[in-house]
Symmetry: C2
Subunit: 259 residues, 2 copies
Amino acid sequence: MTCDINDLADFASLLADESRKVINKYFRKNITISIKNDNTQATNVDIEVEELLRQIIKNRYEGHQIVGEEIINEKKIDNSGIKWVLDPIDGTRAFIHGKPTFGTLIAVIKNDLPIVGLIDQPIQKERWISFNNKTNYNGNLVKSSNNTDINKARLEATSPLMFSEDSYKKFLKIVSSVSSVSWGADCYAYGMLANGYVDIVCEQGMKFWDYAALIPIIEGSGGKISDWTGKRLDETSDGAVLASANEKIHEKALKILNN
Amino acid sequence: MTCDINDLADFASLLADESRKVINKYFRKNITISIKNDNTQATNVDIEVEELLRQIIKNRYEGHQIVGEEIINEKKIDNSGIKWVLDPIDGTRAFIHGKPTFGTLIAVIKNDLPIVGLIDQPIQKERWISFNNKTNYNGNLVKSSNNTDINKARLEATSPLMFSEDSYKKFLKIVSSVSSVSWGADCYAYGMLANGYVDIVCEQGMKFWDYAALIPIIEGSGGKISDWTGKRLDETSDGAVLASANEKIHEKALKILNN
């Protein structure tokens, strides 16, 4: 089985077409909510989407490893070095509350490097896909903002409850430096950053499936993404994520976080 | 000039049709941001929409008073006792950040009582309108949730930064009692409550134009809205707002806030 990057990206899009159908069937209808071991919520939709995507991947690429948020992960991997990372609904709370700002996240990792990233917002039919260091939004290349002035920056975070007490204090130093702060957008915030409407996203407590797909999306639009010390994100990162519209504003945000 | 409530509601809808056109022209395009005296942001779009709506109201109902967020208010009022309350873009930060969860708010107040309330989300083409104690969403009557179990409640607030230190502590008591908390939705959270997807919205620092339209919307769907002491909201309220899907869960939330 060849693993051409264009084929993998096309296949990721096909997966998102399928997840979109399932999610649209359930959005704002009767959904079943369960509480997971880590005390977070999942719905029947999260699980149905992940099962479906896993099955489609297995049918096409039998030996690829699959890592997902909802289902126990299999260790099996063939010599392609390819791993699919799935978050069927990033922003389950927004989904439960009827807000169309959640998304399906799909990443393709080759030998620990994310080579394809995809965010799909199924209700608004918005899709970001990134590979070969280019990020595409609904068919058009996008470019993050070139604003390097932190005082004019637009900041996003999903929830104040995601931070530890100490890290919330650090986060508030960025809050007091920027011009506007808005909340609750999950992966959608990173999409808005890629499109140039947001300058900084600063979060904590993220899992690998929450940020794997975002790495190519942010980098392909001209932005920068790392942990809070500036280190490149990978499967072993501590879950603190800083994404910025460009390298200069990223450096400024890192300095505020660490001073 | 007659002031039939059905005519007023139809006219409110016509105003929202016009605001929708202007906002769609600017969303995710070049917008100009200015900082107001109270240190909050406004855009050229907030101002253009409010000027337009004021002009249309004046042409139709010359003597009605108009109160809006962006423009100095005129005291003039005729013997109809009617006041229009306008917030051209509730959720300016979301609008600036490219997120389609802001809304245009229009209320009609007669002798200090809100008799028509309207929320319009122009990008997603979602509209709530309430009068005669019924709330309509895109042409269908809606009903808030009948969940009375606070442990299963879905809670919304726009931003942790809207609370004073003391009130944030009170708010966190509700947070620790509910099943899910989601942020950043501005007026859209109240629309989701009317439609049955959210049980409680708890906020502070709200102005009259932020909540006037929400009173009929929440009440017309079967919900309850008050300040944090349980007192009915009016122009003199202190800006603390509690909206709930039904009376029972409202009482429980009030008890948590005040104990």
